[in-house]
Symmetry: C2
Subunit: 133 residues, 2 copies
């Protein structure tokens, strides 16, 4: 599925660390700003690293946010379909997977002779903490 990751390059490591340290999702330009002191000057430096990291399965892209997060399970690259619950208030992202949902969507695809390449599931709303507050 995902390409194995050899060593990460300097740029890739910097971008991954930035995402790993972050509380929530970051846009490419936010990452760029955080890495100015490390010599980053142009968006492409970030986007190229992001592309590789996505390929390695070390990060995810949140389509509804145009932003990126470090994978919550970076050591088991093998997990299938992943869903995200995104809090609109605090930005917190919860990453999970569900066998039943996965099988169900796979079933639909099979019934319709549709070959799925990539599936996006994103739930926007309010997390427990923010609801309690």
């Amino acid at each position: 599925m995902t390409t194995a990751s050899p060593e990460l390059t300097r740029n890739q490591s910097l971008v991954l660390e930035t995402l790993a340290k972050a509380e929530g999702p970051l846009s490419a330009y936010t990452i760029l700003d955080k890495l100015r002191d490390d010599g980053f000057r142009a968006p492409l430096q970030v986007y190229r690293a992001l592309d590789k990291l996505l390929g390695f399965g070390l990060i995810h892209r949140l389509e509804s946010l145009n932003a990126f997060v470090a994978c919550a399970h970076p050591h088991c690259h093998a997990h299938g379909l992943i869903a995200f619950a995104i809090c609109e208030k605090c930005g917190q992202v919860d990453e999970f997977s569900d066998e039943v949902v996965q099988k169900r969507l796979a079933g639909w695809a099979e019934d319709h002779r549709f070959k799925a390449e990539k599936t996006t599931i994103e739930i926007r709303g309010r997390c427990a903490n923010c609801l309690a507050a």
Copy 2:
């Protein structure tokens, strides 16, 4: 859930018709270009109409494409969670819903005290036609 739609305004009707006639999803700027002859001159004219139509449940936004499609079931505004299968080759979009997936995600949300506002499910891949060809 979705606000009832009174009469559509001229701009809203033009945008909706454009989407309804289209083969696949259109970006806001593509819609703008198609409506130049009708007097459209600025992106906001399109985006404002799109916002209203989204509110009425007459169109959908495809997050992974930054594009819009007319709702496939414009007369039953009541359906719950909607999923999309998007062909990367021909651009065709198949809109469907699945009770099981919906219940399963709702169950996760309940377990985690997460209040879902909007859920996005988009499957990118190849449709049956394109695979056959």
